[in-house]
Amino acid sequence: MSVTTSPLLQGSLKARLRRAERVQRLRAIGLVAPLFIFILITFVVPIIILMTRSVDNPEVAENLPLTMAALSDWDATTLPDEAVFAALVEDLKTAQASRNTGLVGKRLNYEISGARSKLLQAGRAAEKMTAGPYKEQFLELDDLWGKVETWQVIQRAGEKITSFYLLKSLDLQRGVDGAIVQVSPDQRLFVDVFIRTLGISTMVTVATLLLGFPLAYILATLPVRHSNLLMIFVLLPFWTSLLVRTTAWVVVLQTEGPINDLLLWTGLTDERLQLIFSRFGTIVAMTHIQLPFTLLPIYSVMKTISPNYVRAARSLGSGPFHAFWTIYFPQTMPGIAAGCLLTFILCLGYYITPALVGGPTDQMISYFVALYTNRELNWGQASALGGILLLATLVLYAVYNRLVGIDKMKLG
């Protein structure tokens, strides 16, 4: 074969190479595609549904369509006229037949307490109403119907898309004139819960760092024989079921449990302390569960730090602590960032451990998402709270990706 190649052959070689690379790339994409599609359908679609639920507002719009139409040219400052009340009677009759009055009542109840029973009462009354004027009959029924505010709420609740749940998640609401204002102090709840969630997560992250950093340092600087053995102590809890670890803490922290026994025996306290169902218990149990997540990234960074740097510093006259602080510690920063960020992100979503070890005032935001889904059946509120939590998590996840890189994540 001749060494000099004609331009024609060279071109075709390039084209063939490019084609081969394209095939390779398509094959790689083809390998990833099944999982990509699977995650898209079983994970992303549910989350998108959750997000839409947080602004979805069908109850009033679907069940009181005539009333909503009649309210469309209402001035929103005086009591609506007879036409609106007549429309409401028609709507309520339909709603009674399809048993949806309760649904509308429940929705209005989120904004006016007691509205549900009054709407049910109105529904029953509307079934019996045959002739107008309906306005008078309603005003006689209950003073709820005589308040302009009620109708403003109905009008707002009739919008198909609402910011009500999202605002409520931040303890905000639409005021009389539509401006965003804080809800009354006795109804404020969620801002506290968000602050509590951030507070507990921060405390747990700091605790895991304070306990994990020295341990990682010792493990990284001990001879491999010893450190491998000690590593089992770190990894066994990591592999043990979260529920088992939580159960263990329930047992250990209970009033008749070993810690209280020990405290009494040593005479540190005279009476048994309330350790379980407390903030203290929640933080201790969460720290226990998260410690390996903070420790492992720090440990693997420390393993790569050559002892020569500190040796050099020492030989140049630096003291042991100074050398550690100025030479060694800065090099561990990537590990600290990775570990703490991961722990903080995971802490934000804690549900099971606070639910079992914490008291009523130690519940984090996930608990309320579950509560509003299962007990209160207020799915809009659950979704709005979940949406805000998700947003916070994703922002931190993006930071994590930027700083650490998800492919650097190590398990065990």
Binding site: V32, V224, V369, L389
Partner: protein, 276 residues
């Protein structure tokens, strides 16, 4: 033995000793609660307190004769095995694709595939509860298996990708140039090298599904009661030593898995010559 250089001053030695003592306490903190629960499963009395008046195996007997615990154990095994098998297929294929050279938007795709591990599980659970209700998948084994597969696959992707990082792609080309079909190359070259990562990934996937309780709380009915679900309601309602018996067995399972993964990791490091 303390890992100190010979020129260390007495103050430094003292400090190092303090540090080691401190670390011993942290290790105790990590391990004690898990150990503390185990003897209680042998308590003759139905209490969760020390000292124990006597030893017995009655709670283990209770576990293995109570239909609720046994059904829960069976459900858990069935769901976890199915979810593991599915996530092995999806996860290994994806990891192989991701580790090909110049995969487009690799970091972004990887972050997307790992996200089920990061998103708070309550959000996933509620979303799936809404979505599966439309499809009639709530209160079915199939629904739980799908959900657990989504949660478990990131672990497989991470572990298999990690084994592939040191993987020499020219081995594949060498195999191909010697006339092997892509399938043969996978079978004879790639598979044996990534096997340790796959087994670790499978164990992680299995334990993720086997431990999972939040999604089950939302999308399962009592008919699909799993072991963690049974423990969860047990802790909430009445703390019985049967839970301690179950917990003890789970800790032993975890220990066995940990040892397996550690041995595999060392084998893999030896094979690839990256042992430190």
């Amino acid at each position: 033995m303390m890992g100190l250089p010979p020129y260390a001053s007495p103050l430094e030695r003292l400090w190092r000793l303090t540090l080691i003592l401190l670390c011993a306490m942290v290790l105790l903190f990590l391990i004690t609660p898990i150990i503390a629960i185990m003897p209680l499963s042998f308590n003759v009395e139905p209490y969760f307190t020390y000292p124990m008046p006597g030893l017995s195996l009655r709670w283990y007997e209770d576990f293995f004769t109570d239909a609720r615990w046994l059904d829960a154990l069976k459900s858990s095994f069935f769901i976890a095995l199915c979810a593991t098998a599915l996530s092995m297929v999806f996860g290994t294929l994806a990891a192989l694709g991701l580790s090909r050279a110049n995969f487009p938007q690799r970091a972004l795709v990887m972050a997307f595939l790992i996200s089920p591990m990061i998103v708070p599980v309550v959000i996933t659970a509620v979303g799936m509860y809404f979505f599966f209700a439309n499809l009639g998948l709530n209160n079915t084994y199939f629904g739980i298996i799908l959900a657990h597969t989504a949660l478990a696959t990131p672990f497989v992707v991470i572990t298999v990708t990690a084994t592939l990082i040191g993987f020499d792609q020219s081995l594949i080309r060498a195999g191909a140039s010697l006339g092997a079909s892509p399938l043969t190359v996978f079978h004879k070259v790639t598979f044996p090298l990534i096997l340790p990562g796959m087994i670790s990934g499978a164990l992680f996937a299995f334990i993720t599904s086997f431990d999972e309780v939040v999604v089950v709380l939302f999308i399962a009915s009592p008919d699909q009661r799993t072991l963690p679900r049974q423990m969860f309601s047990g802790i909430r309602e009445q703390l019985s030593p049967t839970i301690a018996a179950a917990a003890t067995m789970l800790v032993i399972t975890a220990a066995l898995m940990l040892v397996t993964v550690e041995l595999l990791r060392r084998r893999s490091e030896r094979l690839r010559g990256t042992s430190s």
